[in-house]
């Protein structure tokens, strides 16, 4: 045991004496720290925004509800907030939340006309990408490891010490093993320590952190093994590093880019614009069609409302909302195909990710943090479900119950219930 410690302390001393290694490790620590810090501040900004929106939404709706008594007017002017809370791990993997919306306000009009509205972030910043822990670990850490390990053997060879060292060393581990262990532990500490601090602040569960750490350490071990193996017989350190960086470019850029190209060529998706157009045409045509053309299919969906479809005027709100829903119904196959295509693309990207370790890690971590497109589409489904609940709340008042008393409005379905 003490023998082991002697070896490790010796190598630790060597490490500290090599200035560029220390600078490299320090830089990775600072970067990882910055990534965690900015991730935490982004997540807390999102949470604060949601809290502010909840309050504003409440008072805004209260104001709207004061005036009209007519359920049609009420439904037209009342908007309802929906949101998707960042998970406890989101600070480490901001994922796609800068591209997909995580907040939305809807009213009772056709959902297909509203759901694609997005309250996105600054596009130019989104295009540059954000620095989060996932980026640091999946894209940068391999480079750090390459720089740390590529000259393990080559350095000793060029300095002419290699053979001497090998013949005098007690065992393989005493020499190379200890050196590799020390460098590997140093890089893990520098990269992961900020994560643990961040997890403590964000209140992530021990299980989640254990899972994430396991993935990250396995990933780092993969790159370390690759770098060590690649440089085993080399004499020129830059040559080893060139090869490894080339491999990194292949894994991080070339394979994902080619995969993306192949996937977007093979998966056919309806154009978003077509969904909107179909929905709009259906809704607008309904104005000129006989009322029964809207009401007959409508009562197939809601047989309980069948006795109340007679109209006494050329315009009634119940008919208005009925044809809104029929517009949704007409656009539904397209809309579903659109979402299915996205899901298929996600699955195919999963296949590609097996050939690209950085992307595989990114995918696993954003999945764990629920910040990927799957989570975004799940949130979209929540919005749809909530919209359906609102419909079911309003329809009885629109069709036969008359004007709702203000007290009933307090019992309207709430998004909180779905979000949980």
């Amino acid at each position: 045991m003490s023998y082991l410690i002697t070896q490790l302390t010796r190598e630790w001393g060597f490490l500290l004496r090599q200035k560029y290694l220390v600078v490299l490790l320090l830089c990775s620590f600072v970067l990882s720290g910055f990534a965690i810090y900015s991730g935490l501040s982004e997540v807390s900004a999102q949470q604060q925004t949601i809290e502010r929106l909840k309050a504003a939404d409440q008072s805004d709706r209260a104001k709207v509800q004061q005036k009209p008594d007519d359920p049609g007017m009420l439904a037209y002017y009342s908007f309802h907030l929906t949101y998707s809370q960042p998970s406890n791990l989101a600070f480490a993997a901001l994922g796609e939340r800068d591209i997909f919306p995580w907040k939305h306000r809807i009213n009772l009009l056709a959902i297909e006309g509203q759901i694609y509205e997005s309250d996105a972030q600054n596009a130019e910043l989104a295009q540059a990408g954000k620095i989060d822990f996932v980026f640091v670990i999946s894209a940068l850490a391999p480079l750090v490891i390459i720089l740390l390990f590529h000259d393990l053997y080559a350095n000793e060879r060029t300095s002419g010490r290699h053979d001497l060292l090998v013949t005098t060393a007690k065992s393989y581990f005493a020499l190379w093993g200890a050196r590799i262990t020390v460098r590997f532990l140093a890089v893990i500490v520098c990269l992961m320590l900020p994560l643990f601090i961040g997890a403590f602040i964000a209140g992530a569960s021990a299980f989640e952190i254990a899972y994430v750490s396991l993935l990250c350490i396995a990933y780092l071990a993969f790159w370390t093994a690759l770098s060590v193996w690649w440089g085993k017989n080399a004499t020129s350190a830059p040559r080893v590093a060139s090869g490894l960086i080339g491999l990194w470019v292949l894994f991080a850029f070339i394979i994902p880019i080619l995969g993306d190209l192949a996937i977007s060529k093979s998966v056919h998706s309806p154009k978003g614009g077509d969904i909107m157009l179909t929905q709009r045409e259906a809704v607008n045509d309904a104005w000129d069609l006989p009322k029964s053309a809207t009401m007959q299919p409508f009562i197939k969906e809601y047989p309980a409302l069948a006795p109340y479809i007679a109209m006494s005027s050329e315009f009634e709100w119940k008919w208005y909302y009925a044809f809104q829903q029929m517009g949704d119904l007409k656009a539904a196959p397209l809309s579903k195909a659109y979402r299915d295509a996205a899901a298929e693309k996600y699955d195919l990207a999963g296949v590609v990710s097996w050939f690209s370790p950085p992307f595989l890690l990114q995918r696993s971590l954003t999945r764990a943090a629920q910040t990927d497109s799957v989570a975004a589409y799940a949130y979209e489904q929540q919005i749809r479900d909530y919209h359906q609940q609102l419909r079911e709340f309003y329809y009885p008042w629109l069709f036969y119950k008359g004007n709702p008393p203000k007290s009933v409005l307090n019992n309207m379905p709430r998004f909180e219930a779905i979000a949980k």
Binding site: K130, T158, N284
Partner: protein, 482 residues
């Protein structure tokens, strides 16, 4: 530089090329570089042409279906609305910029300003999070790496194999040697940029201005020159190949991979911008004060009613020679739009401020500088998107007010008031479809080349500063070269 000296520089450069031609590594790197640039140019050109074609088609379809609507109540057409599509600029085949990150279509209707919808990125695979096969990405991020791989040992190699002192002792000046190696690397830059330049020149035939094309090519040439200088500096300073390589790889990671993200993260932390939903609360509160333009009895229009009665010198709105409901709709649309525009302008300004912060990072990373320069010159930066939003807003306001004018002048007030009485009355409260010609054709054009060039000046200055500083550094080192 004297003529004699220049010929020496050329000899050094030729010799460096001879070395590369014999080196497997250099040739592989060069081949990969050329292949990547070429394929990115071709692939992106095809994709952007397809996009441009589809969007143009969608645009004319939207215009056609608007004009083909049957006889209707004019206000129904206000809600039927219209679509506008952002067609990509000719140069965007080389740098699609934010095209995939913002929605490219917008639904225009009365009383509201919608946001752009259907960003391509949402249908993406997330595979291109780190980089995409666009010429911009390849040249901005990967080309510097190629230059490093080819050039890291240009001076340090001579030193390591002890030919440097020999060369210097024979009367070759340090600066001549460095200049020669630099010239050789610049030739590589020329090779990498060539496909880009050719493709850029082709856009001239698509009516892109020469100024934009030239600033685009010059911008990239300056950027890669910065990297040539960085490589030369590191190679001269470090005594060993491995030292030079490690330092360059480290600098590349920092400047090309880390800095752009640090810039955008810092910008969004430093200038938090409220989202649309959040500002919409204030907008809606403001709009509620203006009254509901669908409801002529809204108290907010009392004064307006009074002024109308006085203007036409009549006692009741029934006697007005024009349709009162149309007047109210038009009046309220104008007022609402004023409020909406005011808030929209605020949002755009805060977004610009944010972007500005991230652009300041161009002083510390040439990659950030060229990224900004490229997107601005090409017309795929945030400013272009704002222009799109402003132009579509004008289009929206014009056609809505055009329809309101039809409402005022063509539709009889009594017919309008009775429109819901029975089917016959509803039919009577319609105007002929000929009136749908109010819609103007929409063709989105990016800002003029002058404006774009002016905007890109800071980014050019950033790159030039890098060059000046690096040349100064190399001169200093060149004198003491041993």
């Amino acid at each position: 530089m004297s003529k004699n000296n220049f010929s020496k520089v050329v000899i050094v450069a030729k010799d460096e090329w001879r070395y590369w031609l014999r080196s497997k590594l250099a040739m592989t790197v060069l081949a990969i570089g050329l292949l990547l640039t070429l394929s990115s140019v071709v692939v992106t050109a095809i994709t952007m042409h397809e996009l441009s074609h589809t969007r143009n088609e969608l645009q004319s379809n939207a215009e056609q279906s608007f004009a083909e609507q049957p006889d209707r109540h004019p206000h129904r057409m206000v809600h039927y609305g219209h679509y506008a599509f952002r067609t990509p600029t000719p140069l965007s085949t080389l740098d699609p910029g934010i095209d995939a990150y913002t929605g490219n279509s917008i639904f225009l209707e009365g009383h509201r300003q919608n946001s752009a919808m259907f960003a391509e990125q949402r249908q993406g695979t997330a595979l291109t999070k780190l980089g995409s096969l666009t010429p911009a990405f390849i040249i901005q991020t990967l080309a510097p790496l190629l230059l490093i791989l080819i050039g890291y040992s240009s001076i340090s190699r001579e030193r390591e194999s002890q030919t440097l002192s020999y060369l210097l002792a024979q009367g070759t000046k340090g600066s001549t040697l460095i200049a020669g190696k630099g010239l050789a690397l610049l030739c590589v830059v020329g090779l990498i940029i060539a496909p880009l330049a050719v493709s850029a020149l082709f856009t001239l035939s698509a009516c892109e201005s020469l100024l934009a094309v030239v600033s685009f090519i010059v911008g990239y040439a300056l950027y890669l020159s910065v990297w040539v200088l960085v490589v030369l500096l590191a190679s001269s300073v470090f005594s060993k190949n491995s030292g030079s390589f490690t330092a360059l790889a480290f600098v590349w990671i920092l400047l090309c991979i880390v800095m752009p993200r640090v810039a955008s993260t810092s910008a969004s932390t430093a200038v938090p911008s409220a989202g649309k939903i959040e500002t919409d609360f204030a907008v809606k509160a403001e709009l509620r004060k203006l009254g509901d333009g669908h409801n002529t009895n809204d108290p907010a229009f009392k004064q307006f009613k009074q002024s109308l009665l006085e203007k036409y010198n009549v006692n009741s709105i029934d006697e007005l020679p024009v349709n009162f409901r149309g007047l109210v709709a038009s009046e309220s649309e104008a007022k609402q739009t004023k409020v909406l525009n005011q808030f929209a302008e605020q949002r755009m300004q805060s977004e610009l401020k944010q972007t500005q912060v991230s652009r300041y990072f161009g002083w510390v990373s040439p990659m950030v500088a060229i990224r900004t320069l490229s997107m601005i010159v090409v017309g795929t930066s945030i400013e272009t998107h704002h222009r799109f939003l402003r132009e579509t807003e004008q289009l929206r306001f014009d056609f809505v007010q055009g329809l309101n004018k039809v409402h005022i002048e063509v539709l009889d007030y009594q017919d309008d008031m009775n429109r819901n009485a029975n089917t016959e009355a509803t039919k009577k409260a319609r105007v002929s479809a000929e009136n749908w010609q109010v819609l103007q054709d929409f063709n989105f054009n990016v800002d003029s080349a002058d404006v774009r060039a002016k905007r890109s000046v800071p980014a050019f200055l950033q790159l030039l500063l890098w060059i000046v500083v690096l040349v100064g550094g190399i001169k200093l080192v060149g004198k003491r070269l041993i």
